[in-house]
Symmetry: C2
Subunit: 272 residues, 2 copies
């Protein structure tokens, strides 16, 4: 058995060279893979068209403080901004609907960086503007991709992002000061319980104005998520550019001490 005598050590050597994991403290390459992934912006801009809840006391305001050549001979521009926390692409910190839970500055960064789980209910939402994602919808996703991973950032894709910033079609009603006749899709209670309580996801996001659907009056999904210290991401943009699985999300909110939420810039790393 000459072959075996030669083979055994050679194969062992080759196998060990190729299977060896990197040492934890070694130089291990980039922490952010920009070679195999592209960055996709999931935030709408803040401007005079930005959509706010109809009962918001004000909207996004940018006040010019300076713009032009100075006495010093250089150009200089600066502004002052004002916004309610909950408009545009924003974070719902857990305290938004749950006393004693994390404020905007307290949400750990680890909860805001994670694998994206994109659940598409575009067809059902197109047929029913008040559609609520069911537990069965989530299970259909799980049949294709496996259980929703703990710590993932769930992004519900209803197709409503394409209606931004037309308020009448995005919110279902554009009567200022009146939130009693809104129509848009979002999560349902059983789906939210499954994702938050069983799957232990980190974040619930959606491409509509709320993680509760338009007609909600008890905001049960907010209560479930925020009560479990799970933040929301609302008015998320460009979800049509994400695969159902395989992307990563980085959601970095303005660090408002004691804030109930606020502006958040969301980037996705999407496989090229």
């Amino acid at each position: 058995m000459r072959a075996a005598r030669v083979l055994a050590p050679l194969l062992a050597l080759l196998a060990s060279a190729c299977a060896q994991p990197p040492a934890p403290d070694a130089a291990i390459g980039p922490a952010v893979d920009l070679v195999h992934y592209e960055l996709v912006d999931l935030s709408h801009p803040y401007d005079s068209d930005t959509v706010y809840w109809p009962t918001a006391p004000s909207e996004f305001e940018l006040t010019e403080l300076a713009y032009g050549e100075t006495e010093g001979g250089y150009f200089y521009a600066a502004n002052l901004l004002s916004t309610p926390e909950h408009g545009g692409t924003h974070l719902d910190a857990p305290i938004h609907f749950a006393a004693g839970r994390w404020t905007a500055d307290q949400v750990p960064l680890e909860r805001l960086v994670g694998p994206a789980v994109v659940i598409d209910v575009g067809e059902r939402a197109a047929a029913d503007a008040d559609y609520r994602v069911s537990r069965a919808d989530v299970e259909t996703w799980e049949e294709r991709h496996g259980a929703v991973p703990a710590g993932s950032i769930v992004l519900l894709r209803t197709g409503w992002g394409g209606r931004w910033p037309d308020r009448a079609s995005y919110l279902g009603d554009d009567t200022p000061g009146d939130a009693s006749n809104l129509h848009f899709p979002s999560y349902g209670e059983a789906a939210a319980r499954h994702l938050v309580e069983t799957r232990k996801v980190a974040v619930l996001g959606v491409d509509t104005a709320s993680i509760d659907h338009g007609p909600s009056t008890d905001f049960i999904v907010h209560q479930i998520a925020n009560g479990a210290n799970v933040p929301g991401l609302e008015n998320v943009a460009n979800l049509e550019r994400l695969p159902e699985t395989g992307a990563w999300v980085l959601a970095l909110p303005m660090k408002i001490a004691g804030g109930s939420g606020g502006p958040v810039r969301i980037a996705a790393l999407v496989p090229r």
Copy 2:
């Protein structure tokens, strides 16, 4: 040569299985390495202590809109915020000091995610509060680590982060409305030209209030950087937790349409 006849195809099979690079569209593992890297928050919070330029017309204001139990039987909290763009841990968009350059919403995300280059001048700054980083300081870094990579995010560590939010020691003077007697360290002109024009870095950041040192009246580093579409990051926090090289920075600013800058949440991925 029975051994060779057996060996050749076996070795070829094993080598191909182990050396094969991942296909570009295959599942290729995490885009963000949270196993070998930890997330470090490089943003100070926005609160009533947040440091603004002494001539800012206002500071950070959080106005409570709601806090407590509602008639619906659930808890609800919401606020309204107001801030000049250039206070706290914030972005200087290139248009801040350069007409026609990128506004806050226009800076590509690719410029805001990159390898961190941390240049420490703590000793020199401790001896001279008006210290400006020289080209020689940058070259000393380059002797140890190689040329500053194109596209990197340079973070100047002066030690001033430890003085936050004490205005008198952080700015050198806490007289409201008077910016004529400020003292803190930052970049010098030759270092900025080397980094921006020769090394083609993506961002200049610093743990003081400005990428120009306190006594500056011509803001030449702003002019150089912003003129080349290079944004600034000012009042960066926790730089003592970063190595000189090997970390990654994710700086995601509020997406203010036409903004000259604004609040930015900065996270670093630091090797464990």
